[in-house]
C-alpha cells in the first residue's frame, strides 16, 4: 500500500467505524423495539405466568460489608413466589462473612456460602451455583439493587424459548452525583442498551451483564461453568455458552440498579479491565470460530476486531500529531479526520447526538426523566471516547501478554455516596 492508500485507509477507518456502527445500532435498536419491546407490558406490571419455577439468586461478595445489607434488603422486595438467595463470601478480608451470617438470621431466604480462602469471582460463582437448589439461577453483584419484577421477566423469557440458556438484564446507573456518573447514564443507554438490542435481533450477544443476568444450569454445564482464569467472567461465560449451542437474549425489563465509578481514575480502571477481559475472550475464542457452533460468533468477533483496529488507527493519528515534523503531518489537515473536528468530525458528533436521543427515547419506558440526562452526554463526543479508545489500546497487549493464571476481584469506586 502506498502512502496515499495508507492515509485513505486510516482516515476511512477513523471516521467510518463510529459512523457506520452508530447507524447500525440505531436501526438495530429500533427494530428490537418494534419486534419485541413495543407490545410488551410495562416493566412494573408483568403478566401472570402459568408456572413460577423456583429460582436461586447468586450474590458473589468480596469486601462488600458496607453494601451487602442494602443488596439483600432490595432482594427482599422482589415480587416472586419462590426464590432463594445465595450470598457467597469469597474469603473477604473485611467482615463481609460475619455480616452475611447476621443477615441470614434476619432473612429466611438467604443462605451463605463462605470460601475459606479467596479464590476469585468465577470460583465463588461456581460453588454458589453448586449450593443452589434450583435450575434457573439469576446473578447480581454484591452492590446491585435488583428491581422487584426482574425475576418474573427472566423466568417468562426462559419459558418463551427453551433454547435460551442465558439472559442479560438491563443495568441502570444508580449514582448520578458527578459528571462522570451522569455521563454513564447516557452511555449505558446510548451505547450499551442499543448494542444489546441490535445484537438481540441477530441472536448473539457479546456479553451478559454480570451485574444482572440469569442462566439455566444445564446451559452453564454445557458451557463449562465460570472459568477461574478469566478477567471478565461474564463475557467469557457468555461466549462459551453461545458456542455450546445455546441462545442468549436481552430482557430489558429485568432491571437492576448498579453503582459505577465516579472518578476518572476509577472509570479508567473499570474500562481497562473490561477491555482487557473482552480482548482475552475474543482472542481465545478465535480457533473455535471455525467450528460449527462457534461460527455464530463471527459477527461479534469481527465487530470486536474492527473496534480494535479503530482504536489503533486513532492512536496512529495521535502519533502523527505528536511527530508534527514528519511527512505525514498533513494528515491532520484532512477534513474532519484529525483531532480538530471538521466536516467529518461534525458529522460524527451529530450522529452521536442522534444516537443518544434515539436510545433515550427507547429507554423512556424504563426510567422516567431519562431525557434530562441528555444534557450530560455532550462529554461523550468531546472527550469520553478518548478514554474508551485508550483502554482498548492498552487492554489488547495486556490481554495478549497476561501471565496471571487467576481472575481477581477488582472493586471499583462506587461513586460519592456521603
Amino acid at each position: 500500500m502506498n502512502l496515499s492508500g495508507f492515509e485513505l485507509a486510516l482516515a476511512a477507518l477513523c471516521f467510518g467505524y463510529p459512523y457506520v456502527m452508530a447507524w447500525y445500532w440505531i436501526v438495530g435498536g429500533m427494530m428490537f423495539q418494534l419486534l419485541r419491546e413495543r407490545s410488551e407490558p410495562p416493566f412494573d406490571q408483568p403478566p401472570e405466568l402459568a408456572e413460577y419455577p423456583p429460582v436461586s439468586v447468586l450474590v458473589p461478595c468480596y469486601n462488600e460489608s458496607r453494601q451487602v445489607g442494602e443488596t439483600i434488603a432490595t432482594l427482599d422486595r422482589v415480587i416472586y413466589p419462590d426464590f432463594e438467595i445465595i450470598a457467597i463470601d469469597d474469603g473477604s478480608s473485611d467482615d463481609t462473612g460475619a455480616r452475611l451470617e447476621q443477615l441470614a438470621a434476619q432473612h429466611p431466604r438467604l443462605r451463605v456460602v463462605r470460601m475459606a480462602r479467596n479464590a476469585g469471582k468465577s470460583t465463588a460463582m461456581n460453588f454458589g451455583a453448586m449450593a443452589a437448589r434450583h435450575e434457573i439461577i439469576a446473578c447480581i453483584d454484591g452492590d446491585t439493587s435488583m428491581d422487584p419484577h426482574a425475576l418474573t421477566w427472566f423466568v417468562r423469557r426462559f419459558q418463551n424459548d427453551p433454547l435460551i440458556g442465558g439472559l442479560t438484564g438491563n443495568p441502570r446507573i444508580r449514582n448520578r452525583s458527578s459528571v462522570v456518573g451522569r455521563l454513564q447514564v447516557g452511555e449505558f443507554s446510548s451505547i450499551v442498551g442499543l448494542i444489546k438490542r441490535a445484537q438481540s435481533v441477530y441472536g448473539t450477544l457479546f456479553t451478559a451483564s454480570g451485574a444482572i443476568c440469569a442462566f439455566r444450569k444445564r446451559a452453564l454445564q454445557d458451557a463449562g461453568w465460570w472459568w477461574p482464569r478469566t478477567i471478565t467472567d461474564d463475557v467469557d461465560v457468555s461466549w462459551r455458552l453461545q458456542m455450546a449451542g445455546w441462545r442468549m437474549a436481552f430482557e430489558p425489563k429485568a432491571m437492576a440498579w448498579i453503582l459505577t465509578p465516579e472518578t476518572v481514575r476509577g472509570l479508567w480502571r473499570q474500562r481497562l479491565r473490561w477491555s482487557e477481559g473482552g480482548s482475552e475472550v475474543a482472542l481465545r475464542a478465535f480457533p473455535s470460530l471455525f467450528r460449527r457452533t462457534g461460527a455464530r460468533m463471527w459477527p461479534i468477533w469481527l465487530n470486536w476486531f474492527v473496534s480494535m483496529l479503530w482504536a489503533y488507527a486513532m492512536l496512529a493519528m495521535l502519533l502523527v500529531y505528536a511527530m508534527g515534523g514528519l511527512h505525514l503531518r498533513h494528515l491532520l489537515d484532512m477534513e474532519g479526520f484529525g483531532f480538530i473536528p471538521g466536516q467529518a468530525g461534525s458529522l460524527l458528533a451529530i450522529n452521536y447526538l442522534l444516537q443518544a436521543i434515539v436510545a433515550a427515547g427507547l429507554d423512556r419506558r424504563y426510567e422516567r426523566g431519562i431525557m434530562r440526562t441528555l444534557f450530560w452526554v455532550v462529554w461523550y463526543p468531546l472527550a469520553f471516547w478518548v478514554l474508551q479508545a485508550s483502554t482498548a489500546v492498552v487492554g489488547l497487549p495486556r490481554a495478549i501478554f497476561r501471565r496471571d493464571t487467576r481472575g481477581r476481584w477488582t472493586s471499583p469506586d462506587r461513586g460519592f455516596r456521603e
Binding site: W23, S39, A50, E101, R174, R218, Q221, W257, E335, Q343
Partner: protein, 162 residues
C-alpha cells in the same frame, strides 16, 4: 427505601454541582461551535425551497458525497439486520410459553465437573450456611482435601449451630 434507589448530587457541596453544570454548558458551547458549519448547511437546504440561497462552508452536496461510501456499508448492514429479523421473526415476537422446557441438570453431574463428592454436595445444598475449605484456587476445583463445613463460621446472636 425509595425506589428507584437513585443517588443524586444532593449530598455534594453546591459549588461542585454548579461547577459540573457550568463545565457541561461550556462543553455544549464548544460542541455547537464545532458543528456550526453543519447547522449552516442544514439552514441552506431548509431555506433553498423558499428561494433563499445562503452562503455555505462547503459545496452543496459535498457532505453527502463524502458519506456515500459509508452509507452503502450502513445499507448492507441494515439489510443484514432485516434478513435476521425476518428469519427470527417468531423467536423475537413470541410471548407464549413453550410447550416444554429442558430437563433440569442433575446436581451430581454439576458436582463431578468440580470434583466435589456426593457427601460434600448434599451438605452444601442442604445447609443454610456453609464454609468451603481446601479447594484449589488456581483450577477452581475441589480436591481430596476439600471439606464443606455447615453452620455459621462466626457466631450469630440467637441462632443455634446446625
Amino acid at each position: 427505601m425509595k425506589w428507584p434507589p437513585l443517588i443524586d448530587s444532593g449530598h455534594l457541596p453546591r459549588w461542585v454541582v454548579a461547577r459540573d453544570a457550568v463545565a457541561t454548558l461550556l462543553a455544549w458551547w464548544v460542541l455547537l461551535y464545532y458543528i456550526k458549519d453543519m447547522a449552516r448547511m442544514a439552514a441552506y437546504w431548509l431555506l433553498l425551497p423558499f428561494g433563499v440561497q445562503l452562503p455555505t462552508p462547503w459545496a452543496p452536496g459535498d457532505v453527502l458525497l463524502d458519506a456515500t461510501p459509508f452509507l452503502k456499508i450502513v445499507a448492507l448492514l441494515v439489510l443484514w439486520l432485516v434478513v435476521f429479523a425476518i428469519a427470527r421473526w417468531r423467536v423475537l415476537t413470541n410471548r407464549v410459553g413453550a410447550a416444554s422446557q429442558p430437563e433440569p441438570l442433575d446436581p451430581r453431574r454439576q458436582a463431578d465437573a468440580f470434583g466435589l463428592s456426593d457427601d460434600a454436595l448434599s451438605r452444601l445444598r442442604g445447609a443454610s450456611s456453609a464454609t468451603i475449605q481446601g479447594m484449589d484456587p488456581v483450577t477452581g476445583r475441589a480436591g481430596a482435601d476439600t471439606v464443606v463445613l455447615t453452620g455459621p463460621a462466626s457466631p450469630v446472636p440467637g441462632q443455634r449451630p446446625e
